[in-house]
């Protein structure tokens, strides 16, 4: 180390590398005290974009597939947003802007969507973008059926795709789906070239088979370890809100599938990465005060994190029990265990969802009332302290996938709070296969509610089929293309979900991007995925 720097607080500050190393050292199990550099978290905003540079990005849990249609998680979709364009761009306020489609028409009950397409767009392999290309791209997903489960769930019941002329494509749906535009705007439904649409499923999952019209082109695949995207110099059809109309600023995007979260965080601190998704709670807390690194503090748009009840389970079939459980949760205590940047929930949607309204008055703590409700419902404390009724103990099980493991300390807080009112909570992570099996068979008490989609419909995918009135509201949402009207309906849906305590929200979880302050991401879509055509990196 050449010299010690002093920061504003007068404390000796170690050079960046050493700090990163120390932090990693600490997280590796050795406790060193008094060495962490504290920063003011001031972001220097340089307003002039710089051309050139490589964005080094890390997403957690990546495989080798570059197929946007099967890449449904947020982190893995971030770089693929640069590979494929969508017909429309979803603004963070829920509205839509032209992209590959210059305009579109939706009929009154959201069953017919007609898009007028740009005429100057080509795919990176030279194929022309037109109505047929769009049809083939979507048809390939329809033909794949359950192989593209998420994509097809979002598309909904599609009757047919027609192309009245080369620059018009019309989607006819069997049932209303007002979420269709949001689906169309997603990376999952990004348009691929006819050459890609013709590929069988397994060929799409390997190598550089995905050809899009995006500002970047897949240039190198390193299998499970990552891939490289390079700039497309003749790109000229950015989404309307983008400041940069032409070729992207960045030369390259290098995607590295670093497995371990703490190593990835250390790489970000040392400058080995520019942009990072998925951070351990301790690193989040540290990033939030770092002077070199910014961590986005807006929760991902979707539904807040918490427990979604299975109302077929004895006990949870009674609204009094569900309400009691909701009232017994002290969220302040839970948030104390969470990372410093997670925030209290204010509704069934996260605060960053375009369809969010503040309903924090419905999320309260009242332990005495909780005990009263359980007594009323006939659940009496047994010898072991756990309430029982007709021989059945009030013992509940929360199931979730391994991606939720970092929340376990916070879930344990709820466990002890519920224990105090005589309710037993068991929890544990399951493999994706087992989790989906349990969800399908109904063998669980609570699932971990964590939908991420910037849309009103995100609640239906978790709370559909529980309640007639709620299902009716969901149907109305799907048949209502108008954003203001949808928002009113979404507010009603969130109200029912909270009043009936189908859902016990814990916090709005912050798991978005962390990046070095030399990285600039001026434009985000509603999903909070950055538009990489506008991204740039300061050159030293």
């Amino acid at each position: 180390m050449k010299r010690h720097l002093r920061d504003a607080t007068g404390r000796v500050r170690l050079p960046r590398r050493a700090t990163a190393a120390l932090a990693l050292f600490t997280s590796a199990g050795l406790v060193l005290s008094g060495c962490a550099a504290a920063g003011g978290g001031v972001q220097t905003v340089s307003s002039t974009p710089v051309k050139g540079g490589v964005l080094k990005y890390r997403a957690a849990g990546g495989g080798k597939s570059l197929d946007p249609a099967t890449t449904t998680g947020y982190g893995l979709a971030v770089p693929l947003r640069g590979l494929v364009d969508s017909l429309v761009f979803n603004n963070p306020d829920g509205t839509f802007a032209p992209w590959l489609a210059t305009k579109w028409e939706v009929n009154d009950n959201a069953t017919r969507y007609a898009f007028t397409l740009r005429q100057d767009v080509t795919f990176s392999n030279g194929e022309k973008f037109d109505a047929t290309a769009v049809r083939l791209s979507y048809q390939a997903l329809r033909d794949g059926g359950a192989k593209y489960a998420v994509a097809n769930q979002w598309i909904g019941a599609l009757a047919q795709i027609t192309t009245p002329d080369p620059h018009t494509v019309v989607f006819d749906l069997v049932k209303p789906n007002s979420s269709f535009l949001q689906a169309v705007s997603s990376t999952v439904l990004g348009v691929v070239a006819p050459a890609t649409a013709r590929l069988p499923f397994e060929k799409r999952q390997e190598g550089l088979g995905i050809i899009g019209s995006g500002p970047f082109v897949a240039a190198e695949s390193r299998g499970e370890e990552g891939y490289t995207l390079v700039r497309r110099d003749d790109y000229a059809w950015a989404p309307e809100p983008a400041a940069n109309r032409g070729a992207p600023y960045l030369d390259k995007i290098e995607v590295r599938n670093i497995q371990d979260n703490s190593i990835a965080a250390a790489e970000l601190r040392s400058g080995g990465l520019d942009l990072l998704h998925n951070t351990e709670p301790a690193d989040k807390t540290e990033f939030s005060t770092s002077r070199d690194i910014t961590i986005r503090r807006e929760p991902l748009p979707g539904s807040a994190l918490g427990f979604a009840a299975n109302t077929d389970v004895p006990g949870l079939d009674d609204v009094r029990v569900r309400r009691a459980l909701a009232l017994a949760v002290d969220r302040d205590a839970v948030l104390k265990r969470a990372s410093a940047i997670d925030i209290a929930p204010k509704g069934a949607y996260t605060a960053s969802n375009p369809y969010f309204t503040d309903q924090s008055d419905k999320i309260r703590t009242d332990v005495a009332a909780a005990e009263r409700l359980l007594d009323e419902a006939g659940w009496r404390r047994g010898a072991d302290g756990v309430r029982a009724k007709a021989g059945a103990r009030l013992s509940l099980e929360l199931v979730y996938s391994p991606s939720t493991i970092s929340h376990e300390p916070n879930i344990a807080v709820v466990q002890s709070q519920w224990k105090a009112i005589g309710v037993e909570l068991k929890f544990g992570s399951l493999t994706q296969a087992e989790l989906n099996q349990r969800l399908q068979s109904g063998n669980y008490s609570f699932s971990w509610g964590s939908g991420t989609r910037p849309d009103a419909d995100v609640l239906r995918s978790t709370y559909g089929g529980l309640d007639e009135e709620l299902d009716e509201v969901f149907d109305q949402i799907l048949a209502e293309p108008d954003i203001a009207a949808r928002k009113a309906l979404a507010t009603r849906a969130s109200e029912i979900v909270l009043d009936e305590a189908y859902y016990i929200p814990l916090y709005d979880f912050i798991q978005p991007l962390a990046y070095r302050n030399s990285t600039h991401l001026p434009l985000l879509e509603a999903t909070h995925i950055p538009w990489l055509g506008d991204a740039w990196i300061d050159q030293q």
Binding site: L24, A28, V150, R256, L439
Partner: protein, 340 residues
């Protein structure tokens, strides 16, 4: 003592063929058993590959998952056939040399194996090439030098290192050599530089394991009459006794551990692969088991079974090379069988 056996050249060839034939039959039995056992064990796992493919509840809610109809996909990839049909068609494929397709990505299993094997083999060979001489060096340092301090240190280091968790050592190496000094990349398997840190972690572990068995072996041998009394009486120096007599005898347990180590390096390096974000056999195995990707797991089991059989054969040959008695015994056994 057996009498010398007269044996013709044709007889020797026949004996060899018989030995090789027996070994091959053994290998086939091992692969078959490993395949069958894994096949039926995998069905105990909850859920199936189709459910693993559906996606997470982050993007598709629990109500959506409950409503999904996945039978068509199960039919397509053969998961709705009866257990026996699946087992028999898998075996038939194995005989043809066809390991089938992944139930998740639908790519041929041989392609997936082809992607991970070079990485794993390179890492295994590189670490073995370093760990064997290093292990011997440590063992000799632990018993030979006059200075007690050197001996104690050399015998302490292997036990200490073996007790450290591999992931922790890996993270420490990344911290020192990658993040602080910037000498080597912390992740990936592209290029020579990326091989250095994982190789070092594994080579040190292997060397420590080898040194442990060699040290106890050498100590026992050095205490034996031939080394402690006979050889010095004949005027042999300590070093001469160690190298010429004891090391060979102490190498038997080493050879056994060596065989085990190769197995560990092929299938069990998953921790190193995760820490250094490398593609490899171990990680593919863990990922495939988690995703209930039966065909890939079975393909890996077959490869590992074949590797174990091969390594065991090599270890057997090593025993014979080390111990002349085994050679004579083998020859006489074959000869007596021939006579009978």
């Amino acid at each position: 003592m057996s009498e010398p056996v007269p044996s013709t050249r044709a007889g020797a060839a026949r004996d060899l063929a018989r030995v090789v034939g027996a070994k091959l039959a053994h290998a086939v039995a091992v692969v078959f058993t490993a395949y069958s056992a894994s096949f039926f064990l995998l069905f105990v796992l909850p859920g199936d590959a189709v459910l693993a493919r559906v996606g997470t509840t982050d993007t598709i809610g629990s109500a959506d998952v409950a409503d999904l109809d996945l039978d068509l996909l199960r039919d397509e990839i053969g998961l709705s056939d009866s257990l026996w049909t699946q087992y028999l068609s898998g075996l038939a494929g194995l005989v043809r040399g066809d390991l089938g397709h992944s139930l998740i990505t639908e790519q041929p299993v041989t392609t997936l194996l082809g992607e991970v094997l070079p990485n794993t083999i390179t890492l295994a060979l590189a670490s073995l090439a370093l760990s064997v001489p290093l292990g011997f060096l440590l063992a000799v340092l632990a018993v030979n030098p006059r200075a007690r301090a050197v001996r104690s240190l050399a015998s302490l280091v292997p036990s200490a290192y073996v007790s450290l968790p591999v992931f922790w050592v890996g993270i420490l190496f990344i911290y020192f050599f990658s993040l602080t000094l910037g000498w080597f990349p912390s992740n990936g398997s592209q290029g020579f530089a990326s091989l250095v840190l994982p190789t070092a972690v594994l080579a040190l572990l292997g060397a420590a394991q080898f040194a442990q068995v060699l040290i106890s072996g050498l100590r026992a041998e050095l205490g034996a009459t031939y080394a402690a009394v006979t050889a010095p009486a004949k005027g042999a120096g300590r070093l001469h006794t160690l190298y010429r007599h004891c090391l060979r005898n102490a190498s038997f347990p080493f050879l056994a551990v060596f065989g085990l180590r190769v197995g560990q390096l092929l299938g069990g390096t998953v921790v190193v692969e995760v820490v250094f974000s490398r593609v490899g056999l171990g990680r593919l195995m863990v990922d495939s088991v988690k995703a209930v990707d039966l065909t890939v797991v079975l393909g890996l089991v077959v490869v590992l079974a074949v590797a174990y059989v091969a390594v065991n054969a090599l270890v057997d040959i090593g025993y014979v090379l080390l111990d002349p008695r085994l050679r004579r015994r083998a020859a006489s056994a074959v000869a007596s069988e021939v006579r009978a």
